[in-house]
Symmetry: D2
Subunit: 294 residues, 4 copies
């Protein structure tokens, strides 16, 4: 299905995400660099972690009158500012639409939510393929016009199947992966190919109830609130940097089935909020934590 | 698209919703009636409004061994209990799947959310048709395999077009209507055909910002929280009995566009929660307010 | 300080909390017993756990015209209903104001919140004494006119000091204990004297971050929401039945000090809500979980 | 009662709040001014309203090595930056502890909450006096060692009594006023003496239920969520710039009395959060809206 409404007209901008050791004058240095070269800043936010002395910044500016040619911005910035100030930085352009792969298993709620936003033009993203270890959701992919690859995984074929997946991801030029209730654990070597570029949704308020069957565990413990957590995937199971969390109330009235039902709404919204922030290039990761700009 | 997973096996049950003047012994009378006739109660909740002296109750029981034939239950109950206790009551059977009509305009987020739940088998409902005053969302309806009727409405043709709509609703044997961001005001005579059977979503925390452009109004007022409200439609604009509300935080950072974006997620979840409660026959209306059972 | 405003005029009522194996007719049996003896029911709520087949109920009725003398109600109820239906039940009278002991250490926020409610007449309770392992909060106790006992505890004197505490609790005829950020772990033998009658506040969203320094742990993990949990104390550290939980948002912006500051407000409100429910006799405990009636 | 624990050691800092028409380079100009004069920045946040083209900023820096003498900072800043950039700005020093007056009537919950924080050393504030139109809460003031003035107000004596209040506020050198459920409407001429320096708590989710008896109105309307709103007082009743809002769920179960009870906790927390932000000098007002920095 084609996008049902056109995306809003976008400005042609550059986005810079920075972190570096804090010191006087970084903010002035970066904003002057942009101002002096006629880069009209349309977004600027910064944060200083005053315990760890780290400076974080996101700045976005219009390219129209910017004096430095687009393909030279990175080089100039690095030479003049990035290297001298020991910055870790990433430069993106709003014109380059990120390409997302979706991994799913049998549960459709997150998949539907993402494809609905995609189709409705809520997000600036391309979703060229869906990979699943089950065939169940193939009809959903077809109706939304997204290619679907059924790649069953078990203990014995995991390495081989992950190789196939990686090939597909390369072939389709994928920038980042969203695990939309994909019930498989990715190998470390797979994860290392996409550092801070695999977003998972865990169906609990992490670090409570990491691992399998969190709603059953929540019911057993008799909690009064359940949650969902989206995070970047690292080699630590359910231990990667948290992007977004949300919760909802429950009570003695709620069976495990009720918790699962209520949780579905949490999961899909929390996952989509994390994907949105990622697409907006508003997330910085440091020390297994995130800075998520407004 | 067919439902992608089968509904859970349902028990064959009867559901009774009651309200009446409060007096001693109602609860005992009703439960004895069911127990004595071998109706295994699987849900019972009741509420007494001790200011207005009204008794509210929802009870659900299995029909398998129930002594009274299904088509006689209403008559027996009314004669033995309903009339003597001056009850307003409604009897439903879990086997009778309610039939919903969807009214939409141009915004797809609530439509997608409902069709996704429908397709995923989250809800026990039939959705045979979608009516819209615009053609924009026709492709969405088609992909989900639901009939779509384009019925443009303006000041001059409203009466005539509502007549067409009412015919369709009758033809398709519709039980209740969901206005999924349908941007038209229904006439009183239309509304009176479906009392407490038209569910609307208003994109504000009612009674704040009733009427048009609530996100603009919220932005102007500088609120720190925005909301969404689902309610039954009555002749009072945005004044019907409230079923569900939810809110999310905002700040000086949020432009009107941001509020609209955040609001979409609220709207679709709040509307779907209201529809779910309606489908569960868990809502009672009295004095323009709702009792919504757990 | 005397109560600054008089309590609302209270009705003279009896309150029955029940749980028992579920079977047909319990609700009818209990309500008929009360109706037949002219007990005007002013509150009734019940819950059936249909997985574990347990029936839970809270019922409150006026004693004014009740046919059974107050001191015989328990005996009659047990003989006629409790024993035959294998009920665990507890009978209370609204006239009997519960007596609470407060245990504190150095942090005053929960103490102030409780004493403010007490003084303002928000709660129907007597607080004859405060016990602390530090002297710091003695002036607070004095200003509110509550006796304060300084009982320092260390590894070597714990048994002896707990004996002193138990003596005081008996002397002052204490019904239940509230640990208002009391930073000591009570011994098992102490806890067993007050089963489901010691309420603690833990400064995290349990089961996440049990044990010491939860705000530091939350900060390290980079969570986006922090919480507080009130629970009955059992021999399992931070593992007793949860009564109430609440959460608040945090972000990369929040230092540990900020989390502690935000957490204080959560802690005092969550603890006081749990105490209120306990005072209302609205909590039932079964299988290390609570049923908390509305 | 003296503060029961010493305040954390404070750094000696200057705080600048700025708003002005947006243009390139403001941020660089301000930060360079501070850096060049050896002002170590410990907080910086800024916001640009890109619709109204207004730049907002809060910056805080250490005075220890700052090159400009404290009593000249304002003059230098204004000459070199403020005037040229058409800034509205305000300079504060962390050493200058703000002086707050409390206005109360009969309800003690907000009063207790504020006095508890004051006594506990949570806030950097002096509270030299409490003014009330009733005598009821005098004992509370006395126990906390704060002077209490009983100034009854009615239609006939309002002007005269407000004059007495204004005299007291001047005598006690009051910087700002907190209306802690003070049930009187201040005259316009009074309000104009303390622009954006009178903080009120309204017991509803404004703009819903402005005016008297909001909990009764909320109950009548059958809302599912109630709220509280703190705002600066202007000549528009309940219409001033909103500082903070919060909400809690309610249901058909809740009587007006229950709403009032639940609302008390909201009111006191929301009011105290607003006061905290004001004390932190983190609030900017523009166009009847607030920018509240983190």
């Amino acid at each position: 299905m084609k996008t049902i409404k056109p995306l809003r007209e976008k400005k042609n901008t550059a986005i810079l995400l920075i972190h570096c050791p804090d010191r006087q004058g970084i903010l002035a240095t970066v904003t002057e660099f942009l101002n002096n070269n006629r880069g009209n800043i349309i977004y600027l936010d910064q944060h200083v972690d005053r315990e760890e002395h780290i400076f974080y910044m996101r700045v976005e500016w219009e390219l129209e009158y910017f004096a430095i040619p687009r393909n030279k911005i990175g080089e100039y910035f690095n030479t003049l500012i990035g290297q001298p100030l020991k910055m870790t930085w990433k430069l993106d352009f709003s014109e380059e639409v990120p390409r997302m792969a979706l991994f799913v298993s049998k549960m459709p709620h997150c998949l539907f939510d993402i494809l609905a936003r995609y189709t409705a033009g809520e997000w600036d993203v391309e979703i060229p393929l869906i990979i699943s270890n089950h065939e169940l959701l193939k009809p959903v992919a077809e109706r939304f016009g997204v290619e679907f690859f059924h790649i069953p995984v078990n203990k014995d074929n995991k390495e081989e199947q992950e190789s196939r997946e990686l090939e597909l991801l390369k072939k389709y030029d994928i920038d980042f992966i969203v695990l939309a209730r994909y019930m498989q654990i990715l190998s470390d070597s797979f994860v290392q190919q996409y550092p801070n570029r695999i977003i998972n949704i865990h169906h609990s308020f992490l670090p409570a109830f990491a691992g399998a069957k969190p709603y059953h565990a929540a019911h057993d413990r008799g909690v009064k609130i359940i949650g969902a957590t989206s995070h970047y995937v690292t080699s630590r199971l359910d231990g990667g940097p948290i992007i977004e969390q949300d919760v909802t109330r429950c009570s003695h009235f709620d069976t495990v089935q009720n918790l699962i039902r209520k949780g579905r709404d949490l999961e899909k919204i929390v996952l989509s909020q994390a994907v949105y922030k990622h697409l907006q290039r508003k997330i910085l990761v440091y020390n297994n934590r995130t800075v998520v700009f407004n």
